[in-house]
């Protein structure tokens, strides 16, 4: 929901980044305010996933220019865990499996590191259990998942739901969903989208990165951006996503190339 005068959650200006010396982001700019849901679409290799990882602080990506301000703080100077504790959350495209660590313990450790950062008392196992039961409903997950190792042996849909469960626990200010819809059947997609919608509120912001318009039938974006060649080439309302679905990306890419050529 876009409202005039809302707090700016994320402000990205002329961001450039590379991996192993290859430039991937080439002047990315974006502003997201509290209460807004933005979607970034774009063809494969346009830099969408890189952008999400740079925001979360993945060490493999080197920022070579520009700035990222998150709630008034210079995000690029912060360690990945500081970003997380300050309220940045990345739902991974491919969540990792951690055999030997129970999902419940993992969620509690994550939750308590956020609490500690906020100057709040850490929750013990008992109190945390109560909290988690309530959050399980958001993604319609069975509590049996809690005693299993993190993502180990989970189906694709279960892994994505587990990401949203983590998001529900951590209550981020900025949630970045990196292709959360990829590989999901329609039922799992609805559950995930429904979870995200329950968590969106006027205080936080969502950045939904997707290759397909389908997800945006369920998570309605306020703004849609199209990325190509490491930057946003056009932005619009949710209707832009429908147009992309109908016409593909080529017309935009051609226009972009023509523009560069001029």
């Amino acid at each position: 929901m876009m409202t005039e005068g809302s707090e700016v959650i994320l402000s990205v200006r002329d961001l450039t980044a590379e991996v192993d010396g290859t430039p991937i982001l080439k002047g990315m700019s974006l502003e997201i305010k509290a209460g807004e849901i933005h979607a970034i679409m774009g063809p494969n290799g346009s830099g969408k996933s890189t952008f999400s990882k740079v925001l979360a602080g993945h060490p493999a990506y080197e920022v070579t220019g520009g700035e990222v301000i998150f709630q008034g703080q210079n995000l690029l100077e912060m360690e990945p865990e500081e970003r997380a504790r300050s309220g940045v959350f990345l739902a991974f495209q491919y969540p990792l499996e951690i055999p030997g660590v129970s999902n419940l313990d993992f969620l509690r450790v994550a939750y308590n590191s956020r609490r500690k950062h906020q100057g709040l008392e850490e929750l013990d196992a008992f109190d945390f259990d109560e909290l988690i039961q309530e959050k399980l409903d958001v993604v319609k997950m069975d509590s049996a998942f809690l005693s299993r190792s993190v993502n180990e042996g989970f189906s694709g849909g279960e892994k994505k739901r587990n990401e949203i469960l983590q998001m529900a626990i951590l209550e981020p200010k900025l949630a970045i969903l990196d292709e959360t819809d990829s590989g999901l059947d329609i039922d799992a997609l609805k559950i995930v989208a429904n979870g995200v919608n329950q968590l969106a509120n006027p205080e936080n912001a969502m950045l939904v990165i997707t290759h397909y318009q389908r997800l945006l039938n369920y998570i309605i974006p306020d703004r849609v951006h199209v990325m190509a060649n490491g930057r946003i080439i056009t932005s619009g309302t949710k209707e832009l996503a429908l147009e992309l679905e109908a016409r593909g990306y080529d017309w935009l890419l051609e226009a972009e190339t023509a523009e560069v050529a001029v």
Binding site: E81, A84, F106, S113, H117
Partner: protein, 452 residues
């Protein structure tokens, strides 16, 4: 095997070690026992005289260099007075079923056998029970191996556990071998004998640990608190028909220690032996684990965790020698290696013709925490039976950047993320330690010992 000319040092060194064996005191031990021990010693002494300390030219010691051992001149450990404080090593579950040996000497003052029920025996060798022990002590195969032979040729006392027929012992028995490393390098040669008669069940915790010397050292030089010491241990376990032995072996020797340990197990028909071996300490350690199947339908479960750092070397050589049908063996060996440490694993499983319908599986998994850390792992399945199921696998991995990043992105700092992953790797084995308090202690050591 190759024949080789041993350099003088390896030969001379071994005979020096043999000379350090304690004399058998008739007054303390009793004439009958002394005669019997002397007989056992006399069988092994000639074997020792023909052998030498192995070098890396010996196939079985290819990766484990003992040359640093040869630089230390060990003297026999002496009875310690006053006795050390072992309170931190006491297991509440075995508070009244504990035998303590200090520097190889039985310490009844630190032991407690009040919880051992009648009919079960837990004590040292000098009790007058020789007739029934005669058939078991130093009777398992493999006694010709150099360190085992040295231990037997030096045999003075032993921790003995005897579970009678069809008796299931609820309390675990804790066999605690404490070294109080002092100013001078010393050698001790602990020995255990466990006999579980048919249909019985018992849990035994065999532990090697270091305790601060009760008297402060007068000359501490260069920040080195303790002198080196050598533990050369042999444990024999007889698992009777349909009996169950659950065995935890904890090696938590001091930083300057050399530890050589043999665990030899005879498994009778339909018996079950479960081992959880944890190696954390010692500068150089070697564990020889040997299972001899003496009847069909045995079940053998071997779990092991080695966690080393610094310049430590930890070697495990295991052999499961099957010789009857319907045996099952499950082995998981895990190593966590940091800094410039070096882990060695050689896992032999012998499945000869008579061992048809064997079902054996072996998995060796290593986590290397530093670019200089090293592991040499070798599964060695020798199968001539034609109707068996045998599988093995070995993995060597590192902590992945993406794994650490995933945890960081959930608010854990990089060190906590690493520790969590290391702990997760160890959990599979730690969870199988049969005693809750020990499980907790080991879990804490694994967790609180970050290796960079």
């Amino acid at each position: 095997m190759t024949t080789q000319v041993s350099p003088k040092r390896e030969v001379g060194y071994l005979s020096e070690l043999l000379q350090q064996r304690p004399s058998l005191d008739v007054q303390a031990i009793g004439a009958e026992t002394v005669a019997w021990l002397q007989e056992i010693r006399d069988r092994s002494t000639p074997i020792v005289r023909e052998l030498a300390i192995p070098t890396t030219r010996d196939e079985e010691w290819r990766f484990t260099d003992l040359s640093s051992l040869l630089k230390v001149n060990f003297a026999a450990a002496k009875p310690t007075s006053p006795l050390p404080d072992i309170s931190s090593l006491v297991l509440p579950e075995a508070a009244a079923s504990r035998l303590v040996f200090v520097n190889g000497f039985y310490a009844p003052e630190l032991s407690s056998v009040a919880g051992i029920p009648e009919g079960v025996f837990a004590g040292n060798l000098w009790a007058n029970e020789i007739p029934r022990w005669r058939d078991y002590l130093a009777k398992l195969p493999g006694g010709q191996e150099v360190f085992s032979a040295l231990n037997t040729a030096s045999l003075t006392d032993a921790a003995v556990v005897w579970i009678p027929k069809n008796r299931s012992l609820e309390v675990p028995i804790h066999l605690l071998f404490v070294s109080t490393a002092g100013e001078l390098p010393t050698v001790s040669q602990p020995r255990c004998l466990v006999v579980a008669e048919s249909g019985s069940a018992v849990t035994v915790i065999e532990e090697y640990a270091v305790c601060p010397h009760p008297q402060p050292l007068s000359h501490r030089r260069g920040g080195q608190e303790y002198a080196a010491y050598l533990t050369n241990a042999v444990t024999e376990i007889w698992v009777g028909e349909n009996a169950q032995v659950t065995h935890a072996r904890m090696q938590r020797e001091g930083e300057e220690a050399f530890h050589v340990g043999k665990t030899a197990i005879a498994q009778a028909r339909h018996s079950r032996y479960t081992c959880c071996a944890v190696s954390l300490g010692a500068k150089v350690s070697r564990h020889n684990l040997e299972i001899f199947q003496t009847g069909e339908g045995t079940e053998t479960i071997l779990n092991a965790l080695t966690k080393i750092a610094g310049e430590q070397l930890a070697d495990t050589h295991s052999t499961i020698a099957l010789n009857h049908p319907y045996g099952t063996a499950r082995q998981v060996h895990k190593c966590i290696v940091g800094d410039r440490a070096h882990a060695v694993f050689n896992g032999k499983i012998l499945v000869p013709k008579p061992a048809q319908l064997t079902d054996a599986g072996q998995l060796s998994r290593t986590l290397l925490l530093s670019p200089k850390a090293r592991v040499d792992t070798k599964p060695q399945l020798e199968i001539t039976a034609d109707n068996v199921k045998c599988a093995h696998g070995a993995t060597v991995s590192q902590l992945e950047t993406d794994e650490i990043f995933y945890l960081q992105s959930r608010g854990l700092d990089a060190d906590s993320a690493r520790n969590l992953l290391i702990n997760a790797f160890a959990t599979e084995i730690v969870d199988r330690i049969p005693i809750a308090s020990l499980r907790q202690t080991i879990s804490q050591i694994v967790r609180s010992n970050p290796i960079s």
